[in-house]
Amino acid sequence: MTADLTQLFEQYYGSLVRMLYRRTGDRDRAEDLAQETFARAVAAPPNNPRPWLFAVALNLVREDGRRNLRQGRRLELLRADAPPAPGPEEDFDRNEASAAVRAALATLNERDREALLLKAEGFNYQEIAATLGLSKGAVGTTLARARRRLVEAYRTEGRGKHVAS
């Protein structure tokens, strides 16, 4: 079981942090949540690890966001909605592009956004359905809506000139 967990960590940690970073826009927070996810996996080893890990991680993000909202900090929304504010440690151009996409992503509803992020991590429809508690048939529709809204929001942000025509 331990060897399996180590393997899981090596296999999914990077993907999990990336998805969480895209979701939260905060690298430190993404890493914290990823570690918390694996800590929970130690306590209750999952049968189907990949959907389980990502579902737990997304749940943690939601809980974290609600807690922040309750505390009035609203860090997540500020980060998601704010115009690109380059951090001192980040590459300016990449941060700018990334923040614009994140702003467009923030306009999506929770489920669409999570489906999109899971698909970007290589999840198939079955895994996305398992992770988000959807039927497999609804995943295509969810993804179609999420993609279209993301692109439209991005174009609305004035970045449409970058979209390939």
Partner: protein, 434 residues
């Protein structure tokens, strides 16, 4: 068939439809232009959405950084960020057997460190005992003989002729000594320290072991060696007779023991030579220091005793000062020279004296040691030294000045003209002495 919904088109492009569904969709697309054009549009949206999501890369180094694009050069207005703690690969805090394994390794590492520290502390203590001045080994020697790396005389050459068992016991203690200088030094220190303890040592396993060897030989064996031999065969002596252990110790060859002992202990001649060499080196060092002190004092003297005449500019770079060259122990002024001579100072006409000083009378043949000798120093155009010595004579002290001699008298003052130029040049100068 109705038009294909957008979700189906995305599922088609994502490869999520099974074969039957794919065939059905392809069949419709082949007949429906609207759905065909929508498929093209969905392709673009899908590609764009994937591109946008993929553009959100984790900014900092880490496991996810491996898939990031090559790092660009940092912006010019922002300093390069120093690596932080969070840049290190994340650590999963999982209690599992891997941790137990590493804990075992940490334990072993800790034990190794503890053993190393124990060895160092013990070695330092033993070395401290050896270097203590009251130690009998060193107290009978002077520091000169202790300075070179002369091992204490633990095994005398006579010991190599002692019975085998003694040598074997001794050899067990001395065997690891020859491995390396550090081990040798430690073993040597252990031997030296154990020596005084031999007198008050209690009966031990080592002594019981040594009971099987002649008592005369045992007396000269350090107890440390006995103890070491006892330790070596301690497990055997529990289950086997003591004689067996002694026999096992006897198995080591005598020649090996003698060779080790000889290699370890230098001969008396070597010790003597080493002491002499050390003493000679110390004497040489003393002489060198005295020379350095004398040179320093001499070099400091002229500026301190300089009265009023400035040193010539060209004398500075010379290794010897002009006073040293002219052998003047005290520079004086003209007035003082007049007092010493009881009359005017004689000079060479047309030449400017470099300096006037006093020199020792013994340097002047035939001069009186009771009166100071005034030396007027000149340098000719080629830098050669010319000395005009003058001494006031007492009473009947008659100058013996043969014709052509550079030693003559004017009044009651004896003059002596010497120098580096040839006698002919000096004689020509003699004619100009006033």
């Amino acid at each position: 068939m109705s038009h294909l919904d957008e979700g189906t088109l995305h599922a088609l492009l994502d490869g999520e439809l099974d074969l039957a569904e794919v065939r059905e969709v392809q069949k419709h697309l082949g007949s429906c232009v609207a759905c065909g054009s929508r498929l093209q549009e969905v392709k673009q949206v899908l590609a764009e959405a994937d591109r946008l999501v993929g553009a959100m890369e984790v900014p900092a180094a880490g496991p996810v950084r491996r898939q990031a694009e090559p790092p660009r050069s940092p912006p010019p207005f922002r300093p390069t960020r120093e690596p932080e703690v969070w840049d290190e690969p994340p650590v999963l805090l999982v209690p599992d057997p891997i941790d137990a394994n590493s804990r075992r390794k940490r334990w072993m590492r800790g034990l190794r460190w503890a053993a190393a520290i124990l060895i160092v502390v013990t070695g330092t203590k033993l070395a401290g005992n050896v270097l203590r001045p009251s130690h009998p080994v060193l107290s009978e020697r002077d520091l000169t003989s202790a300075t070179p790396a002369v091992p204490p005389t633990v095994v005398s050459p006579e010991e190599t002729r002692r019975p085998e068992s003694t040598l074997a016991t001794r050899n067990k203690a001395a065997r690891p000594v020859a491995r390396s200088p550090v081990q040798r030094a430690e073993a040597r220190a252990a031997q030296v320290v154990e020596e005084p303890a031999a007198d008050t040592g209690e009966p031990s396993v080592g002594q019981r072991l040594a009971d099987s060897v002649p008592a005369a030989a045992l007396d000269s064996v350090p107890e440390g060696a006995q103890q070491l031999a006892a330790d070596t065969y301690a497990t055997d002596s529990v289950s086997q007779p003591v004689g067996l252990a002694a026999e096992a110790a006897r198995d080591t060859t005598t020649t090996e023991a003698a060779r080790d002992a000889n290699a370890e202990q230098p001969s008396e001649a070597d010790l003597l030579a080493t002491r002499r060499a050390a003493a000679a080196a110390l004497e040489e060092l003393d002489r060198q220091r005295r020379r350095e002190r004398a040179n320093a004092a001499t070099a400091a003297l002229p500026p301190a005793t300089r009265p009023d005449v400035a040193a010539p500019a060209d004398a500075a770079p010379r290794p010897l000062t002009l006073e040293q060259r002219a052998q003047i122990y005290l520079r004086i002024g003209l007035d003082e020279a007049v007092k010493h001579l009881g009359g005017p100072v004689h000079v060479i006409e047309g030449m400017t004296p470099e300096l006037i000083g006093l020199t020792r009378a013994q340097l002047i043949p035939g001069s009186s040691s009771n009166r100071p000798v005034v030396r007027v120093v000149y340098l000719d155009t080629r830098g050669r030294l010319i000395l005009l010595d003058q001494q006031r004579m007492v009473g009947d002290q008659a100058p013996s000045s043969p014709a052509g001699s550079l030693r003559w008298s004017i009044g009651d003052v004896m003059l002596y003209l010497r120098g580096e130029p040839s006698p002919e040049v000096l004689r020509s100068l003699q004619a100009r002495v006033r």
